[in-house]
Symmetry: C2
Subunit: 222 residues, 2 copies
């Protein structure tokens, strides 16, 4: 049985890897995401390698094994179902959800999660549009394309916000950038480093930086 610290490392390695696109996750990145010193991360990762959850290449970085990936998906499933519950049932605000979910996900049993999923009606995505892995570990591939790849003039619908940072999420919510909302792309300037979109329902115009726009996935239509 993995400790909750191990669970946390594995989850972070998974999401950092996703964030990175490809290649191994370097120690600096891991230690920063975990909020520990680099030496601590090294020690831990050597242990994780021994128990076959990761493959550790000294001085390069770390990758999840199949076993590690399974654990990561189980954690993601927990996290996202709990987030959905906190927001939709208990009425949490977006700014409050993450911290509580983070603590709960290490304390709940599989039974709890399965019953919670049933109670919630088997949602496919959480409130930020992140897909929820099934009990068997299946996960939908990311749908949508990054907003910063959309040409001006296109109409897009927000599909997913890829980030657990509270400030990011709250800002997006306040700008109506939540899954399901329709926008028109007004401008996309790599030079200026910004993407400008207009909320179709309210005519409200929002400009976001190029980098954050990459973490907003949309589906194009029209």
């Amino acid at each position: 049985m993995p400790t909750s610290t191990v669970e946390q490392y594995i989850k972070i390695i998974y999401t950092q890897r996703e964030h990175l696109g490809e290649g191994v996750v370097p120690m600096k990145r891991l230690s920063e995401a975990m909020g520990v010193t680099p030496g601590t991360a090294t020690t831990m990762v050597k242990h994780l390698d021994e128990v076959e959850l990761v493959r550790y290449q000294p001085r390069q970085g770390v990758l999840l094994t199949e076993k590690g990936e399974n654990l990561a998906l189980r954690m993601l499933r927990r996290h996202r179902l709990i987030e959905t519950f906190l927001e939709q049932v208990l009425g949490y605000d977006w700014s409050e959800v993450h911290a509580d979910a983070e603590r709960l996900e290490h304390a709940v049993s599989d039974r709890f999660i399965d019953k919670l999923e049933d109670y919630l009606g088997y949602p496919e995505v959480d409130p930020h549009g992140d897909p929820i892995p099934t009990a068997s570990g299946a996960i939908e591939p990311a749908i949508g394309i990054p907003l910063n790849t959309c040409a001006p003039g296109r109409r897009v619908q927000i599909a997913r916000l890829i980030d657990d940072d509270t400030d990011f999420l709250v800002y997006m919510k306040n700008s109506m950038i939540v899954p399901g909302q329709d926008f028109g792309v007004r401008e996309n300037s790599a030079v200026a480093g910004t993407v400008t979109i207009e909320h179709l329902a309210t005519r409200r115009v929002v400009t976001v930086g190029f980098e954050p726009a990459g973490r907003i996935l949309v589906s194009e239509h029209g």
Copy 2:
């Protein structure tokens, strides 16, 4: 901020003390209830004394301070609200509830508990009839009298089952002994060490030992 181990010790000291009726809680009892060796309990209790959560009298036992009592009530509140949620909302069976609640209660925030309480509609007791302390730490005094003090012929209603032991609770549930059910007392024999009651709705007769009957609280009526 107390660790979850500390929280657990404090909760156990509270309930063992309640179980005992009065006096200090001896180390043997504490260590057994905690599932640790006596030496471990001693070490821990000395620490708890230092941080003013308990008063530790060497070779006698341990008592909660005011501060400790407050923490215990906060844990009881968590535990009982979570149990109520697991059973009434997620559909847990009585036999499954305890273990999961025990792990969750150390992981949830005050915010979570307050929102959960609101969602559940501010219940006053959990499914076993145990009173739920309020956010301010107030708790209803135990209502009801022990079943083993009831004379034959009386009609009683189950008010509360004082025990967290899964086997005890499951047995009682299978015998219809759950809060709200009406019974007639048929026999109460200190000599035989048994109490025999009849479930009025089904005419079913159940005999329980004298000791367990002391952990069944009832209200007399008629």
